[in-house]
């Protein structure tokens, strides 16, 4: 079977991943690029006797060396030599999309252009002369409506066709002043043994691309000087930095193409999208609407979650009873049961809470609402030290810190990703919420629970400010495309949910199960009470808690829900007012809120940012929790 290596390239929100999902279905693998917190999605497909390997590049807007995503993408296209590029574009935003297409064409690889969202374009009164556009660009074009799977086979047919037909690279001519300087540079580079296309290198030299300068420094040291001189000449003529000038030239080229191939008849009436935006992005109405949507989402998740979780409890109890009556107790069986119990605990977290959370989140994302949330919350997020996009991972954190931490990938720079990831671990997740409500809310009144919640959010703010001060680097500003609202596609939502859930289980399961076995081992060896006694100075002396809480807090690392369950088991009562004084309840709740990201979150941090940072965050949060709870215990004693 003939193999075809294909990359999907395109800007964010053009339906690239929808196309990827339709093409590869469940045959995909999502991982990270080596050493980077950037997602790498690959998949396979068989069509007309070909085996397609498809790689979905990150959604990017250009091919400079400023961001890791862009560097990875261009290096992959040039160095890994895929057979062709499928450039997915949004027909409703063709002008902006073609800016990127031109840069892809400069890489001189065979390319198929997918004009996606053609149905929406027609609705918006955008008429694209596809034949003319194909002639100008010199590439085959397929009109697609990815959400309805329309036109996808055409894309593949074009891809196969391109294998037999050698494409001719037309190369776009920039303005005279620029073009003559490109020629000078290509003249020098011609004939040398370079992996990169010569014209592309020349263009990048005029854009002052540092990576390209570095490559050429070794082979052609003299060309750097020539390029600098040429850039200076261009800047003299135009009064802008030569990199801006090149971007500007590209904008002109694209405007010209648009003029020849696209006609826009703007409808007089306000579109549905505009009307909806008038409410949902409004500086006044936008906020109550957002609040209602978020509150409803949480209510739905917790109602469903609590119902399913209690159902699953029954099953776990039955299983435990059966195990206790029919399996001979021994060290081995109790360790095996610990492994089984940890696995079940994980499923009990994933199915009732994380699953519906993901479904609703992707529903909002696919429909386009998440971008509105970023718009509405940008200025608040700035107070934390990050921008509007961070709202999404932080918001996810209220459900579960693990997906939240993974969602920090949507931030632009490594620095922002780390700060956001760190902050998500401080957000009170559903398990912490259970503790806050079950302990302080139930026995001290809802006011205390609410107060603790507000305090948690305050800590996120303060830690955010602190982290942005300490961690070197510049804060990036929000610059974001606002996608149109569209009808969410169930298939996309379910596929996304499925892959995220799988990812969550893969990350969390090993550590959860292993630590479950270890803790059971410690218990079986009879060390638990000595550990509890060892923690005496901390738990009793500093925090003023009963000595048994040492054990509970160790189990809590596995899963913070276990904290209350364990207290019940250890003391044989579910009336916490008999075990803990009001001050102790608040102290314990405070420790639980901050003391360590649970083991699954540590795993996620490890995967995203490396073990050093994961360890660092854990140590910082334990110290912080102990400090703050100890202080609170002393202060509260004076009042309660």
């Amino acid at each position: 079977m003939k193999k075809l290596d294909i990359v999907l390239a395109g800007q964010a929100n053009v339906g690239k991943s929808v196309i990827f999902n339709h093409l590869t279905g469940l045959h995909q693998h999502i991982g990270n690029w080596p050493g980077k917190t950037i997602e790498k999605a690959e998949g396979n497909l068989f069509y007309k006797g070909y085996s397609f390997h498809i790689l979905d590049l990150p959604g990017i807007y250009s091919l400079t060396s400023y961001s890791a995503e862009e560097l990875i993408s261009r290096e992959y296209i040039i160095l890994q030599e895929p057979d062709l590029i499928i450039n997915v574009t949004d027909a409703t935003n063709l002008e902006r999309n073609l800016l990127f297409t031109l840069q892809l064409l400069e890489l001189e690889k065979p390319l198929v252009l997918a004009l996606n969202m053609m149905d929406l374009a027609k609705k918006k009164g955008i008429e694209i002369d596809v034949k003319e556009l194909g002639k100008i660009l010199g590439v085959p074009i397929a009109e697609t409506v990815a959400s309805r799977r329309y036109g996808l086979t055409e894309v593949l047919d074009h891809a196969i066709e391109l294998q037999t037909k050698k494409p001719v690279f037309k190369g776009f001519k920039y303005g005279k002043e620029v073009e003559s300087r490109i020629e000078k540079l290509t003249g020098i580079l011609q004939g040398s043994d370079l992996t990169y296309p010569v014209r592309w290198l020349s263009i990048k030299l005029l854009e002052k691309d540092e990576k390209v300068e570095k490559i050429l420094q070794e082979i052609h040291p003299e060309i750097i000087e020539t390029a600098e001189k040429l850039c200076a000449e261009l800047e003299e003529i135009h009064g802008h930095d030569s990199s801006i000038l090149m971007a500007d030239e590209r904008c002109h080229l694209v405007s010209h193409i648009i003029k020849n191939a696209v006609k826009i008849i703007k409808p007089q009436k306000k579109s549905f999208n505009e009307k909806l935006d008038d409410i949902t992005s409004d500086k006044v109405f936008g906020y109550p609407v957002m609040l209602i949507i978020l509150v409803m989402m949480f209510l739905a998740i917790f109602t469903f979650g609590n119902w399913l979780s209690s159902r699953m409890d029954l099953v776990t109890d039955k299983l435990q009873n059966w195990w206790e009556t029919s399996v001979d107790p021994s060290l081995f069986t109790s360790l095996a049961f610990a492994a089984l119990e940890s696995t079940l605990a994980l499923v009990q977290l994933a199915l009732p809470y994380i699953l519906p959370f993901y479904i609703l989140l992707y529903f909002l994302e696919d429909g386009g609402y998440l971008a509105r949330i970023s718009f509405l919350t940008d200025h608040v997020m700035h107070k934390v030290g990050v921008h509007g996009k961070a709202c999404i991972p932080l918001f996810l954190g209220f459900g579960c810190n693990v997906p939240a931490c993974l969602a920090a990938r949507i931030m632009e720079t490594e620095r922002e990703r780390f700060i956001t990831g760190f902050l998500t671990t401080l957000v009170p997740c559903s398990a912490v919420t259970v503790i806050i409500i079950g302990l302080t809310g139930k026995y001290l009144g809802i006011g205390w629970a609410f107060g603790l919640y507000v305090f948690a959010i305050l800590v996120v703010f303060l830690m955010g400010r602190l982290a942005t001060k300490i961690i070197p680097g510049e804060a990036t500003e929000l610059i974001m495309m606002m996608p149109d609202y569209k009808r969410p596609q169930l298939r996309t939502i379910f596929l996304q949910t499925w892959f995220r859930l799988k990812e969550f289980i893969w990350i969390a399961a090993p550590l959860v199960i292993i630590s479950g076995i270890i803790i059971e081992g410690i218990y079986a060896a009879g060390w638990l009470s000595s550990i509890a006694n060892g923690l005496y100075p901390l738990t009793v002396k500093w925090l003023g808690l009963p000595v048994m809480t040492g054990i509970v807090l160790i189990f809590g690392i596995l899963r913070k829900e276990l904290i209350l369950v364990m207290l019940v088991t250890l003391y044989g009562t579910n009336d916490f007012s008999q075990i803990l004084s009001p001050v102790q309840m608040i102290t314990l709740a405070l420790v639980c809120m901050f003391y360590i990201p649970c083991i699954a979150t540590i795993a996620a941090l490890w995967k995203e940012f490396g073990w050093k940072k994961a360890l660092g965050i854990s140590v910082i949060e334990i110290s912080f929790a102990v400090l703050i709870a100890g202080l609170a215990a002393r202060i509260l004693k004076a009042f309660l």
Partner: protein, 74 residues
Amino acid sequence: MFITEMKEGQGGTIVSVLGGRMAVKRLADLGLTPGTQFKVLRKIRPYGPIEIEARGSNIVLGRGIALKIQIETK
């Protein structure tokens, strides 16, 4: 004049961007280069972002970046 001083519904042309290379690059990626015409769609006052329409797309600009975009009004 800067983009932050514009009213909702007002149109203008970008004159220059007084930012670092990264900011300039990110704007250029979206087609926001000097000479580009645009319209302000909505603003979140007083410190929030601004949504504009340019080259057929809607783009949200954080206030920090908007403060660096010098414009001319029509």
